[in-house]
Symmetry: C2
Subunit: 81 residues, 2 copies
């Protein structure tokens, strides 16, 4: 069966996020001063052929660990949709 | 009150996603052939000062429309967490 697996990858909370800071500046210039912080990460959706939802979750986590996320700078969350 | 607003931005389904195709190739090389399709987008979290959840949602949608997403190539979903 084919499952859709969502992998969200965000910069670690302890680290600066220069891209987020740049977006925050841009939003302020557009008059959206109500936004006080921005963090920019990735959203990756995988189509996975797997025998079960648990199997799809395991494959998604393996993909995130081995290729998609950089554990030094990022954390990730895997969800089977 | 401060709300966390999540903006997910993905390439339109009708368009090719070369970054996703590159990731798919990388996963195959790592032995993760169970993954049959990959699409890569952005996950942006905003901290928003707003009077209500509806207000925070509106500000998130305005930010997505005006700055974060490119409507020609991408669609977005805004969720107040």
């Amino acid at each position: 069966m084919s499952y859709t697996v969502q992998v969200v990858i965000m910069p670690l909370k302890e680290l600066l996020d220069p891209q987020g800071k740049a977006v925050l500046g841009g939003l302020e210039n557009l008059g959206l001063g109500a936004v006080t912080d921005v963090r920019v990460g990735k959203n990756i959706t995988l189509q996975v052929d797997a025998a079960s939802k648990e199997d799809a979750q395991r494959i998604g986590e393996e993909a995130a660990k081995k290729l998609l996320a950089n554990a030094v700078m990022e954390y990730f969350e895997v969800t089977v949709l």
